[in-house]
């Protein structure tokens, strides 16, 4: 089980196995300059069959298990990952949420043209959901926790606009 949270190591594992994914959620916000804290890494993965096989290999290396109560020893399978649902996992490098779709049933292929490519360090380029789309998704969700972050994301987008 996780002894050290290392989002970069999880992303490197995915990249090293050729997994297609988009970084969303709090880490996506941080990569674009929003000062928010998050304890898990949210990824929307491609649900193409070849990608799911690569993803399963990466998850095996990461020793991924479900972190939902009562399922802590269960490993994610192909049938879980092909679904549009959310898989809440714990890995050797911390919590990882794999999301088949987000928002209004938007998956990897629908979101890909709303991403930016960023250098996450150590020669790793990642596809990250852009800040405007992150804000739109949080507005749709309208959970209390999302409303709290929305103001920070909106101001970050504003400040970025001033700088460009």
């Amino acid at each position: 089980m996780a002894t050290k949270t290392d989002f970069l190591a999880i992303l490197q594992t995915m990249a090293g196995r050729g997994v297609d994914y988009i970084v969303v959620g709090g880490v996506a916000a941080v990569l674009q300059g929003a000062p928010v804290a998050t304890f898990d890494l949210d990824l929307v993965h491609s649900r193409e069959p070849e990608n799911l096989n690569r993803l399963l290999a990466a998850l095996d290396f990461l020793e991924a298990r479900y972190r939902t109560p009562g399922a802590e020893t269960a490993r994610p399978t192909y049938s879980h990952l092909v679904s549009p649902g959310h898989q809440l996992l714990m890995t050797r490098w911390g919590p990882l949420d794999l999301l088949g779709t987000i928002g209004e049933a938007q998956g990897y292929s629908e979101l890909l043209d709303r991403t930016v490519t960023l250098d996450a360090g150590q020669d790793l380029s990642v596809q990250v959901l852009d800040l405007s789309t992150l804000i739109q998704l949080k507005e749709q969700l309208a959970h209390d926790k999302d409303r709290a972050v929305l103001a920070i994301l909106r101001r970050t987008l504003e400040e970025k606009g001033k700088g460009s």
Binding site: P35, Q122, I152
Partner: protein
């Protein structure tokens, strides 16, 4: 030795640091001054330090 009568330069109004909805703009500007890789490092260090404060072995 510092002259106690010397006046300090005026600080900018604290309100300038916040947006009207209470967001700390100084943190946003600081984060925007970093590269994406540096921002990720800040996040990881933040998570690690909070977990250490909480007593987790991270």
């Amino acid at each position: 030795m510092a002259d106690k009568t010397e006046s300090s330069p005026p600080l900018p109004a604290l309100s300038a640091a916040y947006s009207e909805d209470g967001v700390d703009l100084t943190l946003i500007r600081w984060m925007l001054s970093l590269s994406p890789a540096e921002r990720l490092e800040v996040l990881q260090n933040t998570v690690a330090s909070i977990l250490r404060l909480r007593g987790d072995q991270n």
